[in-house]
């Protein structure tokens, strides 16, 4: 059974690659075939992700569905046991796998109406998705990094070719900053493998090394920033967040969705996988700094969003703010706080994906993202407005939607360890209400600007995606114990996490 489940994971990262390969062979004029194939793959991956999430036993081992194939052994500096394709999920990655499935499927449907170089788009898209799955599944440092990069690099082309506003700038900045972060991670990886002296890249082995003192505290303190900053760039760590507003502004809709929805989580996930799990002592030493930066990010993003005039900039800054919460939650090193951070990753993922979906749907028709151009569009786009209000309320942290569940746990954790920062973080949530409602008021309500009287509401594809995302938000908001149950064991077993 365990073995068979391991193959499920392998399928998860292999199927998108296979899809890319098949697409490569299709003639690019066959746009409908490309779309249907992609939709089918997306649906299969969604099913697979749901399976992984549901099949993860809350009461079982921390790591489940393991699969290990040796790859490079006894090779010089790579060491005795070297690199192996070691896959498996713990509670955190099971939840994020579910997120990936949902967002990727929604993104596929959204890209349905893409006309320009459809085939190329989907090839890159699937490569990216494969990278995401791979990162979540990998239990080997080398493959972790490999898939991490595989997820980051296609972004450059996806934004550069299919983007809009200042796309070259956005794509270049984003890629350079992320790759810059990767350099830090890479250095850290080699330092850890060398220092541990076990001749292996296997993550569980290295986690053990981090716990039992094979990696000295001094070493951990030095190396932790490499991981934290390297992954932090992708997670929108202040002040390395500026790729986020610009990147989101220029990215095409479905890329924005996947990027803000899933990719930013890779960063936070990396901090857990590499930072907290390999270097518990370093994590403990540096966590106050992470909390401070997270709090600054949360407040800073919220305050900056107050006066933005562009939809996507608001969402970009609000992402900075919300990822700030994730960092605060991780920084507490308290079981509830870390749980909250993980829930927030999921919550922010579906919520932002929904927001970008909706912005895209509007922008495709109206070709402006300036708030003040709009007014009263609830009249012509009721579904759109309802969906946006749901997303916005989740953003604000309204109970009943996922945002509250996540933020509440983070606040509880933060108050336990850093009360002042907890208070500031809650303040940021109040500011979120201000910028969200301001946008609602200006754009959705008030008298209808006659210029927009012929806007069309969501298309069927968009509606399906939106409903899927809203259901996810509601599920976590209303009944969150399926989520927390799966996380509990994993998080209590993280080194350094108190409860």
């Amino acid at each position: 059974m365990e073995e068979a489940q391991g193959y499920v994971l392998l399928t998860g990262l292999g199927l998108p690659l296979l899809a890319a390969l098949i697409l490569l062979l299709l003639p690019s004029s066959q746009k409908m075939a490309v779309r249907y194939l992609s939709a089918v793959i997306g649906a299969i991956l969604l099913g697979l992700s749901i399976y992984v999430f549901l099949a993860y036993q809350a009461s079982g081992n921390v790591i489940q569905m393991e699969l290990q194939w040796p790859w490079i052994e006894h090779v010089g500096f790579l060491g005795e046991n070297g690199i192996s394709l070691h896959l498996g999920v713990d509670g955190i990655s099971a939840l994020l796998t579910l997120l990936t499935g949902i967002v990727a499927f929604a993104g596929t449907l959204i890209a349905w109406k893409l006309e320009y170089r459809t085939k190329d788009f989907f090839i890159l898209f699937w490569v990216l998705i494969s990278g995401v799955y791979g990162t979540f599944f990998a239990l080997d440092l080398f493959f972790f990094f490999f898939f991490y990069e595989l997820a980051v690099v296609p972004l450059y082309l996806l934004i550069g070719i299919w983007g809009s506003t200042r796309k070259e700038y956005g794509a270049m900045k984003l890629t350079l900053m992320l790759v810059g972060g990767s350099v830090g991670i890479w250095i850290g990886i080699f330092a850890v493998v060398h220092e541990a002296g076990l001749g292996t890249f296997d993550l569980p082995t290295l986690w053990e090394a981090g716990r039992n003192g094979a990696l000295s505290p001094e070493f951990q303190k030095i190396i932790f920033p490499f991981f934290a900053i390297g992954c932090g760039v992708l997670a929108g760590l202040w002040p390395l967040h500026t790729w986020s507003p610009d990147g989101h502004m220029s990215a095409p809709t479905s890329v924005s969705m996947v990027h803000a929805g899933v990719l930013m989580k890779l960063g936070a996930f990396g901090i857990i996988r590499l930072g907290i799990q390999i270097l518990p002592e370093g994590a403990e030493f540096w966590m106050p700094a992470l909390v401070v930066l997270g709090t600054i990010g949360a407040l800073y993003g919220a305050i900056a969003a107050l006066t933005q005039r562009d939809f996507k900039l608001i969402s970009g800054y609000s992402s900075v703010s919300h990822m700030g919460y994730v960092l605060i939650g991780l920084g507490t090193l308290h079981a509830v706080g870390v749980t909250g951070a993980t829930l927030q990753m999921f919550s922010h993922g579906v919520m932002t994906a929904l927001v970008f979906l909706l912005i895209g749907a509007l922008y495709d028709q109206a070709h402006t993202r300036d708030l003040s151009d709009y007014g009263g569009i609830a009249k012509v786009m009721p579904l759109w407005v309802i969906a946006y209000v749901m997303a916005g309320l989740a953003n604000v942290g309204l109970p009943g939607l996922s945002g509250f569940t996540a933020e509440f746990h983070i606040f509880v954790g933060a108050f336990h360890t850093y009360p002042v920062f907890g208070g500031l973080a809650i303040l940021a949530a109040a500011i979120a209400a201000a910028y969200m409602l301001r946008m609602f008021g200006v754009v959705f309500f008030g008298p209808l600007n006659p210029r927009w009287s012929d806007l069309k509401d969501l298309s069927p594809m968009e509606t399906i995606s939106a409903v899927l995302l809203i259901l996810s938000m509601l599920a976590m908001g209303l009944w969150w114990s399926p989520f927390t149950d799966r996380l509990e064991n994993t998080i209590l077993n993280l080194p350094g996490v108190t409860s």
């Binding site: 009249k379 509250f404 108050f415 809650i426 409602l437």
Partner: protein, 629 residues
């Protein structure tokens, strides 16, 4: 039944889902479903009440909870607790909700999004019931936010109107500031006691688990939440603006139920407030200031609904004062009676608005009693109850509060008496200018006619309640209905007390009532404004100050525009220019420029490269020699 009181909240919750999903396509857009649902919970309430009373005092509070989640030792249980306070709240909510639902059928006829209005109304009722049933602070907070959301949606029901959108936004954000405090308070409690359960928290506090300073700070945060929701100074600004919503909504949410959630919360946590140093004094001061300030403002408002709104704020202040004096029963009793007569007044105002085809400025009305006799009569009962005429509902509850404050000291009593006079004054003014005298605008008067049965029936019922609700204070009245006795013997903090009429207080109250009412009558009776005009011209600056609501709105506007948004612009600027253009783009530019400089080394001439190699070889050789030796 009482342990399954959650059904009360579940029924309207379900109704909301059904109506939101299918409402538009239902016959009559589903208003019958709303009324049916309201009737059902009204009936269910009595089942709960009967069961509750049957079980007897020993079984109270009735608890029922399930495990929600657990992370390590962080356990979360969700459940309900039904005790006396809850029963009072349930009674108020279900009764007023039924009346408002019926009234709305008439009031909202032909309005846009009719079905949506009723759907959200059910959502509100569901979350309000959940709020009072919650046995833990977390569930309470969830419901607290949901009632805020419903309030937001209903205030902004006419979202085509810019002012409605602004009002909705203001209400949500202002209360949200308070909610932040509440959430902080809740989490601080968890941190100190490891539980969200209200009873357990009270237990912990009584055992002294939490240090004094810490407890005081926590309670201040909790109070912040209560002040936001109950529109206490300085958070009161959102409530008058909330009158942009449909009038039945104002009656239900912004007079009878949601705004008293703060009072409910303080009453619920009163044992903790008592132990938290000077927390109760703070509650009382807040209540007094609110009662006075908003009472004064209510005296000069000219919009019917605005007068009622400020009156509501003022009355909420009264309740806070009672709680601040430590009398849960007085506060809750005023909440109870106020809910009926204020709902009556708001619905009466709604009836006026419909009858006059959307006019609500007192300057345009007058002499309506001829055209709308039922509305006028019920409105009169409501006004008198509010003003405190013996023996209407408002009289008894206000008396209780005065009685409670008596023990605290001279000054609070004095200020409260002034507030009571003002209450009588603006009630008289409101009624006289709206219903008596000559019609100010014949055009409007000619169109005015009495409203239909769906609207007058709730008025009559509520008028009845406004008369009898006060009698619940009597021991015999209560026990006749099956309660252990009067209100004071049912809802109390430490000791039940049997109510005895204090005739000297009755006399004083009556004096206050007469002073206020006659002041109002003297100024306005007979449709004359010359006396009040003289008064205005005598002190124009004071009048301006009051008329402009002590410039609270302007102050906040200034703060938001200049400080908050200014700061936001600063941060955005910093983000663009300092972080992005200087930090990120700057490093890119530096790299670029360095490359620009270094590219000249790349001459393209082979000898130069050869030279570099040769120099390198020589240098490396020399270095290795130097190092080696």
């Amino acid at each position: 039944m009482a342990e399954h009181a959650w059904i009360l909240a579940a029924v309207p919750g379900l109704a909301f889902i059904v109506m939101a999903a299918t409402g538009r396509r239902l016959p009559r857009q589903g208003d019958w479903m709303a009324v049916l649902c309201a009737t059902a919970i009204f009936a269910l309430f009595f089942a709960v009440l009967a069961n509750f009373l049957n079980l007897g005092e020993g079984a109270w509070p009735i608890l029922n909870s399930i495990e929600w989640t657990a992370i390590g030792n962080f356990e979360l249980r969700m459940g309900i607790a039904v005790d006396q306070i809850t029963i009072v709240m349930l009674g108020v909510i279900t009764t007023v909700a039924l009346m408002v639902n019926i009234f709305s059928v008439g009031y909202m006829k032909g309005e846009p999004r009719y079905w949506w209005y009723f759907a959200v109304l059910q959502l509100f009722v569901a979350s309000m019931l959940m709020l009072v049933l919650a046995d833990n602070l977390l569930l309470l907070y969830v419901a607290w936010e949901l009632v805020g959301l419903s309030s937001f949606l209903l205030i902004g029901h006419y979202w085509e109107k810019r002012s409605a959108v602004e009002a909705a936004k203001k209400a949500f954000i202002t209360t949200r500031v308070g909610d932040v405090g509440l959430l902080i308070g809740i989490i601080l409690f968890w941190d100190a006691t490891g539980t969200f359960n209200i009873l357990e928290i009270i237990h912990h506090v009584e055992e002294g688990t939490i240090g004094d300073t810490r407890l005081f700070i926590t309670m201040m945060f909790i109070l912040l939440g209560a002040m936001g929701k109950s529109a206490q100074l300085p958070f009161h600004v959102w409530l008058p603006d909330a009158m942009e919503g449909p009038t039945p909504v104002s009656a239900l949410i912004h007079a009878a139920t949601m705004v008293v959630a703060g009072v409910y919360l303080v009453a619920r946590m009163l044992p903790v407030f008592e132990l938290a140093g000077d927390a109760l004094t703070v509650v009382m001061v807040v209540g007094l200031l609110t009662a006075l300030f908003s009472g004064v403002i209510a005296c000069v408002q000219t919009d019917i609904k605005k007068v009622l709104a400020y009156s509501t704020v003022s009355q909420l202040g009264f309740m806070f004062v009672a709680l601040g004096a430590g009398y849960a029963s007085a506060g809750m009793f005023h909440l109870f009676t106020h809910a009926f007569f204020k709902a009556l007044l708001f619905l009466g105002a709604g009836s006026v608005i419909i009858g006059t085809h959307h006019h609500q400025e007192m300057a345009q009305l007058g002499g309506l009693w001829r055209k709308m006799p039922i509305t006028a009569a019920t409105f009169l009962i409501g006004s008198l109850a509010l003003a405190g005429l013996f023996p209407l509902a408002g009289f008894w509850s206000k008396d209780e509060i005065l009685h409670a404050v008596e023990g605290v000291g001279m000054w609070p009593f004095f200020f409260l008496a002034i507030a009571a006079i003002m209450t009588a004054f603006y009630s008289a003014r409101l009624f006289i200018r709206t219903f008596l005298g000559k019609p100010q605008d014949p055009e409007i008067a000619s169109h005015t006619k009495e409203t239909g049965l769906t609207m007058t029936l709730p008025l009559v019922f509520l008028a009845l309640m406004s008369i009898v609700a006060g009698f619940f204070i009597f021991h015999d009245f209560g026990s006749a209905l099956g309660f252990p006795g009067g209100f004071g013997e049912f809802v109390f903090l430490h000791h039940a007390h049997v109510f005895h009429v204090d005739w000297s207080l009755v006399a004083l109250s009556t004096v206050l009532f007469v002073l206020g009412t006659f002041g109002g009558a003297w100024l306005y009776l007979g449709g004359r404004l010359d006396r009040s005009t003289v008064l205005v011209e005598w002190q124009p600056k004071v009048y301006d100050l009051v008329k402009n609501k002590f410039y609270f709105d302007e102050l906040y506007q200034f703060f938001i525009d200049r400080v908050v948004l200014g700061f936001s612009y600063l941060v955005s600027w910093f983000d663009r220019f300092a972080v992005n253009d200087t930090g990120v783009d700057g490093s890119a530019t530096m790299t670029n420029y360095t490359g620009f400089l270094l590219k000249h080394l790349q001459s393209g001439r082979v000898p130069n490269y050869a030279m570099a190699i040769a120099v390198g070889v020589v240098a490396l050789t020399l270095i290795s020699l130097a190092v080696g030796s």
